[in-house]
């Protein structure tokens, strides 16, 4: 186990550098001059431009910029945005908001998605099963931004149950609707994945044995069926946690939540290189750690898997 963890962590290192380099190249080597953009339509004073370029390290070759940036990151310095605010400060404000939203969404995925999949999987071909399949298919097909507008129009504007936009993200009750919208797609996937997995495992030999030796139904389903069926679902949920944070761009835009998605979207539009790279770097780290945790969780869920 220890060896396995070590190997996985070592494998993460090139992936981390590769992913950050890729995003760095995409942000800085592509056309578009952020310094010129700072001046808008006005003509820029060449001396000021040169000074700013030097200040932001933009006068150096790209590989030097990257090394400089990486070196700073290891000192937990994510650089300064073009507005003069440290990127780490921007993230400190925005990340907790998104984490709360993502956790609310994650909660709905598990609390709604799993039972739906369980019911559908256990009673294949029943009305409940067909209903779950149909509803999830519709949810998967409707893009999140459309779903967001429908939810906002119906629940906030027509029914008046909630406010149309989130006023205070610390109030969890205001995050319920955006959280549901953010969760919708993954929730449908979780339900379908659970259903398929349960359906496959129901026919396994160990299930027949468990039923035959007269174990109570709760034990059969809870300990034998569910534990085996959850393995692919856990994989999905783990990698989804990272995707939820990235996917929050649309949801945060619709409900006007000042989270990471909103900040990132504005930063991309304004060619705010340091902010974009900083946020994406953190998102990549979240993703890498999540997939490591998923791999380790395998061993807990499935004793057949042994790490050499």
């Amino acid at each position: 186990m220890g060896h396995y963890v070590l190997r996985r962590v070592l494998q993460m290192i090139p992936v981390f550098f590769g992913a950050t380099l890729l995003i760095f190249l995409m942000v800085y080597s592509l056309p578009g001059d952020p310094i010129a953009a700072m001046f808008g339509d006005k003509a820029a004073d060449p001396a000021t431009v040169a000074h700013l370029k030097h200040q932001y390290y933009l006068d150096q070759p790209l590989w030097k910029q990257y090394l400089h940036y990486m070196n700073n990151i290891f000192h937990l310095d994510f650089g300064t945005s073009f507005t003069g605010r440290p990127v780490s400060e921007i993230m400190k404000d925005a990340f907790p908001v998104t984490i709360r939203l993502a956790l609310v969404a994650f909660f709905f995925e598990i609390v709604i998605g799993l039972p739906l999949g369980l019911i559908a999987g256990l009673k294949r071909g029943s009305i409940a099963d067909t209903l779950v399949l149909l509803v999830t298919l519709v949810v998967i097909s409707i893009p999140v931004f459309v779903l967001g507008y429908i939810a906002q129009t119906v629940f906030a504007i027509n029914l008046g149950w909630v406010t149309a936009t989130v006023q205070d993200s610390r109030d969890i009750s205001q995050l319920i609707l955006p959280g549901l919208v953010l969760a919708s797609l993954s929730l449908a996937y979780v339900a379908r994945l659970t259903r398929t997995s349960i359906g496959e495992n129901l026919r396994a030999d160990y299930m027949r044995t468990a039923v035959a030796k007269g174990l109570p139904r709760r034990t059969v389903v809870g300990r034998h069926l569910l534990r085996n069926s959850l393995i692919p679902v856990v994989t999905f949920l783990g990698t989804d946690l990272g995707a939820l944070m990235g996917g929050a761009i649309v949801t945060e835009g619709i409900f006007n939540i000042a989270g990471i998605g909103n900040v990132l979207y504005k930063a991309i539009n304004q060619k705010e290189g340091p902010t974009v790279v900083g946020i994406v770097t953190v998102l990549v780290i979240v993703y890498l750690v999540a997939s490591l945790v998923v791999d380790l969780l395998y061993a807990v869920l499935d004793p057949r898997i042994r790490y050499a």
């Binding site: 992913a19 890729l22 592509l30 931004f145 459309v146 990132l264 539009n269 998102l283 990549v284």
Partner: protein, 337 residues
């Protein structure tokens, strides 16, 4: 009634009781001979011959009977027709802006297939015409990205799975790197660099970032197939690398890739619409459902139908491809039978 536990007498089994003088046995041989004769009689007629069906033949027979497959096929054929020949479905110019017809006029249901059928948007353009003309962008992005991603990911996965060792390690790490960047975020950053964005820039951005999923599926599939006996036999008989790859492994490893690609197609259409909705995807003069949905925000309270029709068109398109993928998966995956 005989006891069920009583052993069955041996002489009930003709094969166990072979005795040259036994007339029973002769009968048995005679019957077999007859059977062989019948078989040779039947064989020249290929239509009646019971063929050992391949995985694909099996899947095809299964698919034809699925209503979901038939419905999605009809929808997809219709959508492709609309995408190629939008002029056949509406005579109204989707860019003609007539401010007398604005969003405050309700959709006119009596105006069948006319400009006002679905009403007019905030700029007085026919929503029906825009829904029809918007199909092209979505379908093109969906199909082209899927083709590009299947090709890229398929080649990477095939190389990684087939060669193993160092090439696998390198390709897998590169896949991990691209996989670590969320599709939507990466595409936003990439597309932001294009000052003029067409359908093709969106295709390039999505394909550049989206191939990893298929590479992983292909790699896993190739590794499984590589170990099968016919591949080992082919190698022992001296088949070269390319023959092994494309004649033996590819046809048997491609099924899961096709399933994932079909389902992903709907996802790429959604991704394009989301990017266009955010203002970083398609832009004028390309007509896109995503852009139309985005501009419908301004009038959503007075005229929800301005949002409804492009959103419905988008959802139905995605639905059609996902249903198709679902049906193909069910047909190809014997575990679910």
């Amino acid at each position: 009634m005989p006891d069920r536990n009583e052993p069955i007498p041996d002489d009930h089994d003709p094969l166990r009781n072979i005795n040259p003088t036994d007339s029973d046995h002769l009968d048995y041989v005679g019957q077999q001979g007859l059977a062989v004769e019948q078989e040779t009689l039947i064989e020249p007629d290929p239509a009646k011959r019971e063929q050992a069906r391949s995985l694909w033949g099996d899947a095809w027979r299964d698919l034809r009977r699925r209503p979901i497959f038939l419905v999605s096929t009809v929808l997809i054929v219709l959508l492709i027709l609309i995408a190629i020949f939008p002029g056949l479905f509406t005579g109204t110019d989707p860019r003609a802006s007539d401010l007398i017809n604005n969003y405050l006029r309700r959709p006119d249901w009596t105006d069948f297939f006319g400009g006002g059928w679905f009403g007019y948007d905030g700029q007085g353009r026919s929503i029906y015409a825009r829904v029809i003309y918007g199909a092209r962008a979505s379908i093109t992005v969906g199909i082209c990205v899927t083709l590009a991603v299947t090709l890229l990911g398929g080649m990477a996965g095939m190389a990684a799975g087939f060669f193993g060792g160092w090439s696998d390690a390198v390709i897998s790490r590169i896949t991990d790197i691209f996989f670590g960047i969320p599709l939507l975020l990466g595409a936003l950053v990439l597309l932001n660099a294009f000052s003029v964005r067409t359908v093709w820039s969106v295709v390039i951005a999505l394909a550049f970032l989206g191939w990893t999923q298929l590479a992983r599926v292909m790699r896993g599939s190739v590794i499984t197939v590589k170990q099968s006996d016919y591949v080992v036999a082919g190698r022992a008989l001296g088949a070269g690398t390319s023959r092994l790859m494309f004649r033996h492994i590819l046809p048997n490893a491609i099924a899961p890739v096709i399933v994932v690609a079909t389902i992903a197609l709907g996802g790429y259409i959604t991704a394009e619409a989301t990017l266009s909705f955010l203002g970083i995807g398609l832009q004028d003069p390309t007509i896109s459902w995503g852009v139309d949905i985005s501009s419908a925000q301004k009038v959503i309270r007075q005229a929800p139908f301005v949002l409804f029709f492009p959103a419905a068109a988008l959802s139905i398109t995605v639905l059609a491809f996902i249903m198709m993928g679902d049906a193909v998966r069910d047909a190809l995956d014997p575990k679910l039978r």
